[in-house]
């Protein structure tokens, strides 16, 4: 499912094929529906189910890079697989479009796809370029962590997969107390100050603990930490100066892909400080 964050999408389209994953674009995909949840749950469920049923029709698995979309779809899958009555109701709606939810498709986020399916060995093989010695703070983002009972791609209390991937790229990623803290994103619409404060606090904590930067895998978190970095830092009186980039961007760089192709120029945070650009050795 495509995202509105080009840098994320570009880097995914560049890196995955290198790891033997073929990306197919399914026509007819729509928004996952999550943003509407507070207004009309049924509609959200319908929209998610719709996307899922398209995958069903094509008989292929779904890569959902946005944790929030991933959550929406997983939740829909949970409801529909668990509640036959609801499944009937939704399928009745879907039939109008000649669709049907079956539930064969598997859902992947970048992190579990790379860590569990592709495997760290493959990553290590693909690495062409030795990156400078970096210690990057891993940020997961709430939606791929919780709610755990729904089965999320990573452990909700003690996630480790991103660190493992980074390590296989030759990048250190130390543990830090604020790792599970929220990016503040969800509060942005109705509580901007608090929202930015949360973002700021985490950025501050990260820079305070001497990390070289922050790696993440969520468009929304990216927006908060990357695009809104300056504002956020100011709001907590911090001079945080933290390069923030997508996991897939860092992977791409390690695989020796030209940074332009990875949309590194789209990152607003000081990614250049990392000294990652330059030719393959």
């Amino acid at each position: 499912m495509p995202t509105e964050q080009y840098a994320y999408e570009m880097s995914i389209r560049e890196t995955l094929p290198l790891m033997g994953v073929e990306i197919v674009d399914l026509p007819g995909f729509s928004c996952c529906g999550e943003p509407l949840k507070s207004i009309n749950q049924m509609l959200t469920l319908h929209m998610s189910a719709r996307n899922l049923s398209i995958a069903d029709r094509e008989g292929i698995d779904l890569l959902v890079p946005c944790p929030m979309c991933h959550l929406a779809l997983s939740e829909a899958k949970n409801i529909l697989d668990g509640n036959g009555e609801m499944k009937k109701r939704i399928n009745a709606k879907l039939r109008e479009e000649g669709l049907e939810y079956i539930g064969k498709q598997r859902l992947f986020h970048i992190i579990d796809l790379v860590h569990d399916e592709i495997g760290l060995d493959t990553i290590r093989e693909r690495v062409k370029k030795t990156l400078p010695d970096l210690n990057m703070a891993a940020h997961y983002g709430c939606h791929i962590l919780r709610p755990s009972e729904m089965g999320r791609p990573v452990d909700s209390e003690n996630p480790r997969k991103m660190e493992a991937i980074l390590l296989s790229l030759g990048v250190r990623s130390e543990d830090y107390a604020e790792k599970l803290d929220c990016c503040g994103g969800p509060l942005l619409p109705n509580h901007p100050e608090t929202s930015l404060a949360k973002t700021g606090q985490k950025l501050h904590a990260v820079s305070e603990q001497g990390f070289d930067g922050m790696v993440l895998a969520c468009p929304w978190c990216q927006k908060m930490f990357d695009s809104k970095q300056t504002k956020a830092a100011e709001s907590v009186g911090s001079r945080a100066h933290v390069p923030v980039l997508y996991l897939t961007q860092l992977m791409g760089l390690a695989f020796g892909i030209d940074d332009a192709k990875l949309g590194l120029n789209l990152n607003l945070s000081p990614v250049d400080d990392l000294g990652l650009k330059g030719e393959v050795e």
Binding site: D155, E157, N158, D175, Y176, A177, E178, L180, Q209
Partner: protein, 667 residues
């Protein structure tokens, strides 16, 4: 039986007002097999009894039907009367024409009609009843107590003081259990070892108690009154008769201070040969062959230093494991509990910082015999903590972990608040993060109020996470009373972990044939009315093996279990009810359907050799069988029957109640 007497009771007017007693007497007289039919105002009175005895004597009746009140009321009475009269008590059948007839209906005609049916069906059954004898089993007046914690100690002492021989089996080198690890006890703040040690000494010196430490129960056979138990006695590699407990070997050992000390929760180190704790009973060294160099490599320097050091020459590497066989009449199980390992809950940071500890570890830190000689210090740096935060219900009252309340956490934490202040002075900051404070026991609420009065910060809520940045610990806690989010910075976190069943309680229960409740603790026969009994007659439970409880309740339950056991041991022999299931070996083909479904494991397959061929058939242990009849109903070939409730007896009743002449058709 062939000669049946029917005795109809008026019960004053309770029955006769609604039932035409005389017409019943007249009618049943006609029934074949009935040689006597009488009615009387009060059959349960002495006069009534006389009437029955007279008929036994004069009419020689061998079976009786008493039409009166509920058998739950007077069946024992009339069985007694029959027995006195010289008739077999088990050929008496009661027809309940009061509770379930005259009192329940308001038409005399219909009541009489129904009463008639009931009496006639009872006669039909009585015809098929057989005289039965009560089985008797002699009782071995010895008791086995498993577990040497406060529960086991209390039970042993009670039983021993009653004059019974008691075998107390403890798996550790010393008795004392969890209580020995505690510094003080709530709410009285008694010094734990000060009140425990005397009891341990008493056990040690009691003439009726055989103390078997460093031992484990291997297997159990038999049933109430006569259990045969095998106990494994692990080798101490120290001659207990010689060892004086001086501890010279301990200091001499080459592995000194190199092995984590279980008793101190790994906060300090011990030697390979060690004394569990200063007040250990028996106060004798024990050698841990897992870590002893000589045991592992067959050599220890140029000779084991312990041997050199021991003037009593008590060290004996040749000691072998022994298996003792005990014969006991009753068993008290007091195997205690474990604490949930907080490492399994990553968010609490137990595995991420040395300064996150459990209440039991803190207890050891506070204890003057503990690793820091009673000085509370940060495990990481050895400095005095300025702020301590206690997190309650770690794993308790948590659907994802243990749904139950540990029942000791709140009070333990509150007690430790006092101890911490004694230890670190008033200035230390103490935060308590609780779900609710449960101070249910006698004097507990008052204790809680006192602690609350001192400047202790109570937060009601569960922290989502303990954040650790090297020495610095932070906790976000949303206080549900003030509805505010607080961030706590603290030096030391004390977790109050859930109380869970012993790790091995599963296999232990299987070995002992005991059931467990959903939470994994041993199951009592009835939560309210039989809290010390189990479903295995003669085996009782006490203390935390049955469920979390504090010392007060544990001791009470232990004494209770002891007296329940004494009730059995004090009898010469046990009488068992003959109304039990019996297998007809000639019809049983050994399909084993009955065996799996008996709740008392009373059925076993026995192999017999008939004409050189091995044939298997089920056999029911008449002591274990409680006479529910589930196996009788389930036996697909009708090879099992229940005395007093045989198929043909019940079918005969059905037939009468249906006025069906070709009834009871067992071809």
């Amino acid at each position: 039986m062939e000669r049946i007497g029917v005795f109809v009771c008026h019960c004053g007017i309770n029955i006769s007002s609604m039932v035409d007693v005389e017409s019943i007497v007249e009618r049943v007289r006609e029934l074949d097999g009935v040689v006597e039919a009488k009615s009387y105002k009060y059959m349960c009175s002495d006069r009534g009894a006389q009437i029955i005895k007279k008929s036994i004597e004069e009419k020689g009746i061998d079976g009786a039907v008493i039409a009166c009140c509920s058998p739950r009321m007077h069946e024992p009475t009339f069985r007694g009367v029959a027995e006195d009269g010289g008739m077999n008590p088990f050929t008496v059948e009661i027809a309940n024409i009061r509770e379930q007839c005259s009192w329940a209906h308001d038409s005399r005609e219909r009541s009489t009609e129904k009463a008639m049916k009931l009496v006639m069906s009872s006669v039909a059954k009585a015809r098929l009843l057989e005289p039965l004898e009560r089985g008797r089993t002699p009782v071995i007046p010895n008791a086995l107590v498993i577990g040497g914690g406060i529960a086991g100690i209390q039970a042993s002492l009670d039983l021993a003081n009653e004059g019974f021989r008691v075998y107390l089996v403890e798996k550790d080198p010393s008795i004392g259990g969890r209580m020995a690890q505690l510094d003080k006890t709530f709410p009285t703040l008694d010094c734990s070892s000060c009140i425990l040690t005397p009891k341990m000494m008493e056990v040690y010196h009691h003439p009726n108690i055989d103390l078997m430490t460093y031992s484990e129960v291997l297997s159990i056979e038999g049933s109430i009154g006569d259990y045969r138990v095998k106990v494994r006695r692990k080798p101490r590699y120290v001659d207990v008769d010689r060892c004086t407990g001086c501890g010279d070997c301990v200091t001499a050992c080459r592995m000194r201070d190199r092995i984590p000390d279980e008793f101190n929760m790994g906060l300090s180190n011990r030697s390979a040969i060690y004394i569990q704790f200063p007040q250990a009973i028996p106060l004798e060294a024990v050698m841990d062959s897992e870590t002893c160099l000589f045991h592992r490599f067959g050599k220890c320097g140029d000779g084991p230093l312990c041997v050199e050091a021991c003037e009593a020459e008590a060290i004996d590497f040749e000691q072998k494991e022994e298996v003792a066989e005990l014969n006991v009449g009753a068993i008290v199980v007091a195997t205690g509990y474990d604490l949930l390992d907080p490492a399994s809950l990553h968010e609490y940071g137990y595995s991420r910082s040395k300064n996150v500890i459990t209440t039991l570890e803190l207890e050891r830190l506070i204890s003057s015999s503990g690793p820091t000689k009673g000085e509370v210090r940060l495990p990481s740096s050895g400095e005095r903590p300025r702020s301590v935060t206690m997190i309650m219900c770690v794993g308790s009252r948590d659907e994802t972990q243990c749904s139950w309340c540990c029942r000791i956490g709140c009070m333990t934490a509150l007690k430790q608040v006092i101890l911490l202040r004694e230890n670190l002075g008033e200035e230390v900051e103490i935060n308590i993060l609780h779900t609710d404070i449960k101070s249910f026991g006698k004097g507990y609420e008052e204790f809680y109020r006192n602690v609350r009065a001192e400047n202790t910060n109570f937060f009601r809520g569960r922290p989502s996470e303990v954040r650790i940045r090297n020495e610095d610990i932070r906790i976000d806690i949303f206080d549900t009373i003030t509805n505010k989010l607080f961030e706590i910075r603290t030096d030391m976190v004390v977790l109050v972990p859930a109380v869970v069943p012993r790790a091995d309680s599963g296999e232990f229960a299987r070995m002992m044939n005991l059931s467990r409740s959903g939470d994994g603790f041993l199951l009592e026969a009835h939560l309210k009315l039989k809290p010390m009994d189990t479903f295995v007659n003669g085996i009782f439970i006490a203390g935390c093996c049955q469920g979390p409880k504090d010392i007060t309740d544990t001791v009470a339950q232990a004494s209770g279990a002891a007296s329940r056991a004494a009730g059995i041991l004090s009898k010469k022999e046990l009488e068992n009810d003959p109304l039990i299931a019996v297998v007809d070996a000639d019809l049983c083909s050994g399909c084993r359907i009955c065996i799996s479904l008996c709740p008392y494991s009373a059925i076993e397959p026995v192999v017999e050799t008939m004409a050189g061929e091995e044939v298997v058939h089920a056999e029911i242990n008449e002591v274990l069988c409680q006479g529910c009849g589930a196996c009788v109903a389930a036996c697909p070939s009708g090879a099992i029957n229940q005395m007093g409730f045989k198929d043909n007896q019940i079918l005969a009743m059905i037939g009468v109640l249906n006025d069906c002449s070709d009834a009871g058709g067992l071809k």
